[in-house]
Protein backbone atom coordinates (compact mmCIF):
# COMPACT_ATOMS: atom_id res chain seq x y z
CA UNK A 1 0.00 0.00 0.00
CA UNK A 2 1.34 3.42 -0.95
CA UNK A 3 1.16 5.88 1.92
CA UNK A 4 0.55 9.49 1.09
CA UNK A 5 3.35 11.79 2.24
CA UNK A 6 2.14 14.36 4.72
CA UNK A 7 3.64 17.67 3.66
CA UNK A 8 4.08 20.61 6.09
CA UNK A 9 1.24 22.30 4.15
CA UNK A 10 -1.11 19.36 4.82
CA UNK A 11 0.07 19.27 8.40
CA UNK A 12 -1.06 22.90 8.89
CA UNK A 13 -4.45 22.10 7.35
CA UNK A 14 -4.81 19.15 9.71
CA UNK A 15 -3.72 21.40 12.58
CA UNK A 16 -6.37 23.96 11.59
CA UNK A 17 -8.99 21.20 11.68
CA UNK A 18 -7.86 20.26 15.19
CA UNK A 19 -7.93 23.91 16.30
CA UNK A 20 -11.50 24.23 15.01
CA UNK A 21 -12.54 21.07 16.87
CA UNK A 22 -10.83 22.24 20.07
CA UNK A 23 -12.67 25.57 19.84
CA UNK A 24 -15.99 23.77 19.35
CA UNK A 25 -16.36 25.39 15.93
CA UNK A 26 -18.48 23.75 13.24
CA UNK A 27 -16.25 25.25 10.58
CA UNK A 28 -12.54 25.70 9.92
CA UNK A 29 -11.91 29.43 9.71
CA UNK A 30 -8.82 31.44 8.67
CA UNK A 31 -8.03 32.06 12.34
CA UNK A 32 -7.74 28.30 12.89
CA UNK A 33 -5.13 28.19 10.11
CA UNK A 34 -3.28 31.05 11.83
CA UNK A 35 -3.35 29.13 15.14
CA UNK A 36 -2.08 26.00 13.40
CA UNK A 37 0.72 28.00 11.73
CA UNK A 38 1.80 29.30 15.13
CA UNK A 39 2.17 25.68 16.30
CA UNK A 40 4.09 24.42 13.24
CA UNK A 41 7.45 23.55 14.80
CA UNK A 42 10.53 24.52 12.79
CA UNK A 43 8.62 26.41 10.10
CA UNK A 44 9.54 29.85 8.79
CA UNK A 45 5.90 30.87 9.26
CA UNK A 46 6.02 30.14 12.99
CA UNK A 47 9.37 31.94 13.29
CA UNK A 48 7.97 35.09 11.62
CA UNK A 49 4.79 34.99 13.70
CA UNK A 50 6.67 34.59 16.96
CA UNK A 51 9.09 37.41 16.13
CA UNK A 52 6.09 39.76 15.95
CA UNK A 53 4.60 38.51 19.22
CA UNK A 54 2.09 36.21 17.56
CA UNK A 55 2.51 32.99 19.49
CA UNK A 56 -0.33 30.51 19.96
CA UNK A 57 -1.39 31.89 23.33
CA UNK A 58 -1.40 35.51 22.14
CA UNK A 59 -3.57 34.59 19.15
CA UNK A 60 -5.94 32.56 21.32
CA UNK A 61 -6.28 35.43 23.82
CA UNK A 62 -6.86 37.93 21.00
CA UNK A 63 -9.56 35.66 19.53
CA UNK A 64 -11.40 35.59 22.86
CA UNK A 65 -11.04 39.35 23.13
CA UNK A 66 -12.30 39.87 19.57
CA UNK A 67 -15.34 37.63 20.25
CA UNK A 68 -16.26 39.65 23.32
CA UNK A 69 -15.66 42.99 21.59
CA UNK A 70 -17.74 41.98 18.58
CA UNK A 71 -20.63 40.92 20.81
CA UNK A 72 -20.37 44.19 22.73
CA UNK A 73 -20.68 46.05 19.43
CA UNK A 74 -24.22 44.67 19.12
CA UNK A 75 -25.07 45.01 22.82
CA UNK A 76 -24.26 41.57 24.19
CA UNK A 77 -21.91 41.42 27.16
CA UNK A 78 -20.26 38.15 28.13
CA UNK A 79 -19.53 37.85 31.83
CA UNK A 80 -17.09 35.00 31.20
CA UNK A 81 -15.81 33.93 27.80
CA UNK A 82 -14.82 30.52 29.18
CA UNK A 83 -18.33 29.16 29.03
CA UNK A 84 -17.59 27.34 25.80
CA UNK A 85 -16.74 24.02 27.47
CA UNK A 86 -19.17 21.68 25.79
CA UNK A 87 -19.38 18.05 24.87
CA UNK A 88 -17.82 17.08 21.56
CA UNK A 89 -18.68 14.55 18.89
CA UNK A 90 -15.38 12.65 18.47
CA UNK A 91 -16.25 11.85 14.84
CA UNK A 92 -17.21 15.39 13.86
CA UNK A 93 -15.31 16.80 10.87
CA UNK A 94 -15.63 20.59 10.61
CA UNK A 95 -16.03 21.83 7.05
CA UNK A 96 -14.01 24.61 5.48
CA UNK A 97 -15.56 28.04 5.87
CA UNK A 98 -15.15 30.70 3.20
CA UNK A 99 -12.45 32.55 5.16
CA UNK A 100 -10.23 29.42 5.20
CA UNK A 101 -11.00 28.60 1.54
CA UNK A 102 -9.95 32.12 0.54
CA UNK A 103 -6.70 31.81 2.52
CA UNK A 104 -5.87 28.53 0.75
CA UNK A 105 -6.81 29.98 -2.67
CA UNK A 106 -4.57 33.01 -2.06
CA UNK A 107 -1.74 30.69 -1.00
CA UNK A 108 -2.16 28.53 -4.09
CA UNK A 109 -2.34 31.55 -6.40
CA UNK A 110 1.24 32.46 -5.39
CA UNK A 111 2.73 29.55 -7.31
CA UNK A 112 2.29 28.44 -10.90
CA UNK A 113 2.10 24.79 -9.80
CA UNK A 114 -0.91 25.10 -7.55
CA UNK A 115 -0.59 21.78 -5.80
CA UNK A 116 0.27 21.12 -2.20
CA UNK A 117 3.82 19.65 -2.66
CA UNK A 118 4.89 23.04 -4.05
CA UNK A 119 3.27 24.96 -1.24
CA UNK A 120 4.73 25.60 2.19
CA UNK A 121 3.18 26.89 5.44
CA UNK A 122 4.56 30.33 4.58
CA UNK A 123 2.25 30.42 1.52
CA UNK A 124 -0.67 29.78 3.84
CA UNK A 125 0.52 32.55 6.16
CA UNK A 126 0.48 34.92 3.18
CA UNK A 127 -3.04 33.74 2.33
CA UNK A 128 -4.27 34.30 5.89
CA UNK A 129 -2.63 37.72 6.26
CA UNK A 130 -3.95 38.94 2.90
CA UNK A 131 -7.53 39.06 4.18
CA UNK A 132 -8.91 42.60 3.98
CA UNK A 133 -11.70 42.04 6.51
CA UNK A 134 -12.83 39.46 9.00
CA UNK A 135 -11.58 37.99 12.24
CA UNK A 136 -7.85 37.71 11.40
CA UNK A 137 -7.31 41.41 10.58
CA UNK A 138 -9.32 42.28 13.69
CA UNK A 139 -7.21 40.15 16.04
CA UNK A 140 -3.99 41.49 14.48
CA UNK A 141 -5.33 44.97 15.26
CA UNK A 142 -6.10 43.94 18.85
CA UNK A 143 -2.55 42.59 19.32
CA UNK A 144 -1.14 45.73 17.69
CA UNK A 145 0.79 43.99 14.93
CA UNK A 146 2.36 46.12 12.21
CA UNK A 147 0.65 44.29 9.34
CA UNK A 148 2.72 46.01 6.64
CA UNK A 149 5.97 44.89 8.24
CA UNK A 150 4.65 41.38 8.83
CA UNK A 151 3.59 41.06 5.17
CA UNK A 152 7.01 42.33 4.03
CA UNK A 153 8.74 39.64 6.05
CA UNK A 154 6.45 36.96 4.64
CA UNK A 155 7.04 38.16 1.08
CA UNK A 156 10.82 38.15 1.63
CA UNK A 157 10.63 34.58 2.93
CA UNK A 158 8.54 33.60 -0.11
CA UNK A 159 11.06 35.14 -2.52
CA UNK A 160 13.86 33.17 -0.82
CA UNK A 161 11.90 29.93 -1.34
CA UNK A 162 11.42 30.76 -5.05
CA UNK A 163 15.17 31.32 -5.52
CA UNK A 164 15.99 27.83 -4.25
Amino acid sequence: MVRKRITPFHSVIQGAREEACAAGSRTIEAEHILLALSSQKGSKAKEILESTGLDHEAIRDALNCEFEKSLLAVGIQLEDSEFTSRSRNPDFQPRFAQSAKLAVHRAAALESKRIAPHLEPIHLLFGVLDAKAGTVPRILGIIGVDLGELRDRVEKALSLIRKH
Partner: protein, 96 residues
Amino acid sequence: MSTHVDKQGLVNYSCFMDEKTIKLTKVTNIADGLAGVVALRRLADQLEDTLVERAMREGWTWPQVAEALGVTRQAVHKKHAKRLLAAGVELRKRNG
Protein backbone atom coordinates in the same frame (compact mmCIF):
# COMPACT_ATOMS: atom_id res chain seq x y z
CA MET B 1 -28.58 47.94 28.23
CA SER B 2 -26.66 44.73 27.67
CA THR B 3 -27.77 41.13 27.76
CA HIS B 4 -25.55 39.19 30.13
CA VAL B 5 -24.47 35.60 29.56
CA ASP B 6 -23.04 33.73 32.54
CA LYS B 7 -20.31 31.11 32.41
CA GLN B 8 -22.74 28.25 32.00
CA GLY B 9 -23.93 29.90 28.83
CA LEU B 10 -27.28 30.86 30.27
CA VAL B 11 -28.74 34.15 29.21
CA ASN B 12 -29.96 36.31 32.06
CA TYR B 13 -33.51 36.87 30.93
CA SER B 14 -34.49 39.37 33.62
CA CYS B 15 -33.96 42.24 31.23
CA PHE B 16 -36.38 40.58 28.78
CA MET B 17 -39.02 40.14 31.45
CA ASP B 18 -38.93 43.78 32.53
CA GLU B 19 -39.01 45.37 29.15
CA LYS B 20 -40.31 42.57 26.87
CA THR B 21 -37.63 43.27 24.34
CA ILE B 22 -33.90 43.25 23.71
CA LYS B 23 -32.50 46.66 22.94
CA LEU B 24 -29.56 46.06 20.69
CA THR B 25 -26.91 48.73 20.84
CA LYS B 26 -27.05 51.05 17.83
CA VAL B 27 -24.20 49.95 15.63
CA THR B 28 -22.04 52.93 14.76
CA ASN B 29 -19.15 51.10 13.09
CA ILE B 30 -20.15 48.77 10.24
CA ALA B 31 -17.07 46.53 10.56
CA ASP B 32 -17.73 46.08 14.28
CA GLY B 33 -21.40 45.39 13.56
CA LEU B 34 -20.62 42.74 10.94
CA ALA B 35 -18.10 41.12 13.32
CA GLY B 36 -20.91 41.19 15.88
CA VAL B 37 -23.13 39.23 13.48
CA VAL B 38 -20.40 36.56 13.17
CA ALA B 39 -19.98 36.45 16.95
CA LEU B 40 -23.75 36.20 17.50
CA ARG B 41 -23.93 33.17 15.17
CA ARG B 42 -21.13 31.52 17.15
CA LEU B 43 -22.81 32.41 20.44
CA ALA B 44 -26.12 31.01 19.17
CA ASP B 45 -24.37 27.73 18.26
CA GLN B 46 -22.76 27.54 21.69
CA LEU B 47 -26.04 28.30 23.46
CA GLU B 48 -27.86 25.69 21.37
CA ASP B 49 -25.28 23.03 22.21
CA THR B 50 -25.35 23.89 25.92
CA LEU B 51 -29.13 24.04 26.21
CA VAL B 52 -29.88 20.95 24.10
CA GLU B 53 -27.50 19.00 26.35
CA ARG B 54 -29.25 20.35 29.46
CA ALA B 55 -32.66 19.55 28.02
CA MET B 56 -31.70 15.96 27.18
CA ARG B 57 -30.09 15.47 30.61
CA GLU B 58 -33.36 16.68 32.15
CA GLY B 59 -35.40 14.13 30.21
CA TRP B 60 -36.68 16.08 27.21
CA THR B 61 -37.33 14.02 24.08
CA TRP B 62 -35.98 14.73 20.60
CA PRO B 63 -39.42 15.81 19.29
CA GLN B 64 -39.79 18.28 22.18
CA VAL B 65 -36.34 19.79 21.62
CA ALA B 66 -36.93 19.89 17.86
CA GLU B 67 -40.26 21.67 18.25
CA ALA B 68 -38.74 24.16 20.70
CA LEU B 69 -35.97 24.96 18.23
CA GLY B 70 -38.31 25.03 15.24
CA VAL B 71 -36.51 22.31 13.34
CA THR B 72 -37.26 18.68 12.48
CA ARG B 73 -36.56 15.85 14.90
CA GLN B 74 -34.20 14.35 12.34
CA ALA B 75 -32.26 17.60 12.07
CA VAL B 76 -31.75 18.03 15.80
CA HIS B 77 -30.89 14.34 16.22
CA LYS B 78 -28.33 14.46 13.40
CA LYS B 79 -26.73 17.60 14.83
CA HIS B 80 -26.51 16.61 18.50
CA ALA B 81 -26.96 12.85 19.11
CA LYS B 82 -23.35 11.68 18.66
CA ARG B 83 -22.00 14.53 20.75
CA LEU B 84 -24.41 13.81 23.61
CA LEU B 85 -23.83 10.05 23.48
CA ALA B 86 -20.07 10.70 23.66
CA ALA B 87 -20.73 12.86 26.73
CA GLY B 88 -22.64 9.98 28.36
CA VAL B 89 -26.08 11.60 28.16
CA GLU B 90 -28.91 9.07 28.33
CA LEU B 91 -31.14 9.82 25.37
CA ARG B 92 -34.88 9.18 25.49
CA LYS B 93 -36.49 8.09 22.26
CA ARG B 94 -40.14 8.64 23.06
CA ASN B 95 -42.21 10.77 25.39
CA GLY B 96 -43.70 8.95 28.37
